[in-house]
Symmetry: C2
Amino acid sequence: MKTQVKSVEKDKEVLKRAGLKNTPARQAVLSTFGTGCLPLSAEQIYQSLKKKYDLATIYRILNKFERGELIRRINLKGGTGYYELVANHHHHLICQGCGLIEDFSRCGIENMQNAIIRSSKKFNEIKGHSLELHGLCKKCS
Amino acid sequence: MKTQVKSVEKDKEVLKRAGLKNTPARQAVLSTFGTGCLPLSAEQIYQSLKKKYDLATIYRILNKFERGELIRRINLKGGTGYYELVANHHHHLICQGCGLIEDFSRCGIENMQNAIIRSSKKFNEIKGHSLELHGLCKKCS
DNA sequence: TAATTTTTGCAAATAATTTGCATTTAGTTT
DNA sequence: AAACTAAATGCAAATTATTTGCAAAAATTA
């Protein structure tokens, strides 16, 4: 369908802007993130692509994307890395009891970035941030 | 000296409050964090304790401490987990170029927690948060 | 289309973290 | 204080997470 074509075009564009080659594997990873806000691990992407690409390739792509500011690694439970699209900027409330995650978006950090930069001795520029709130969900509290 | 004794007493107290047994290994880990704001990895703690305790033990202690809300895992570069004392609440500016880290503390999140909880459907209570800002240091920008 | 540079697949290496089990230890309990 | 019990530790081994070397395949460039 048309939307499919469009999104491929868009992905191509996205990759080019980030200075990255346009390859099927990269398109596939991008489209796995899709428009959703779900954080994904390398393993999840691998499974979700029906193991069509090598896990090492997924890792390499994620690293490239991270350096290209397309995605950002975030902190969920455990040692596994999760990534989400920088474009879908939002945050998480994480339940310390059961691991439940709820999204929220208005964090107000942008309003403070100027103040933070002004008071910083070593930094010039803030490009983004990651914020997780830890607490208890209604069931666990 | 007296301060040494005091800090051991305090650590004991801290452990008890968290419902954890007071052991030499746990004291040692606590005192490795000390009063500093440095985030530490399991490996760093292991080295810093002159390998006096097993690495597996360090990991077990860190996990206990995390569940007991004594420390919190944070997001630095790479896949390694870093921890810092919850008591030393602060945040990091992380350079995307060279990995340089600068601390800052006034983040203003506390002011927004009420608003966030009110707008949340699933959560009752916020206990803490972790925030990292990504940007470019003066050298890299 | 040939040339050049990157990317991918595969296998293997390395890093990070967890687990099983026997032994020791901390905090009771008698 | 000796005995008791639950939990903590050490050691080795297992998992999990991630990276790397190298040859083959694919993407941009000339």
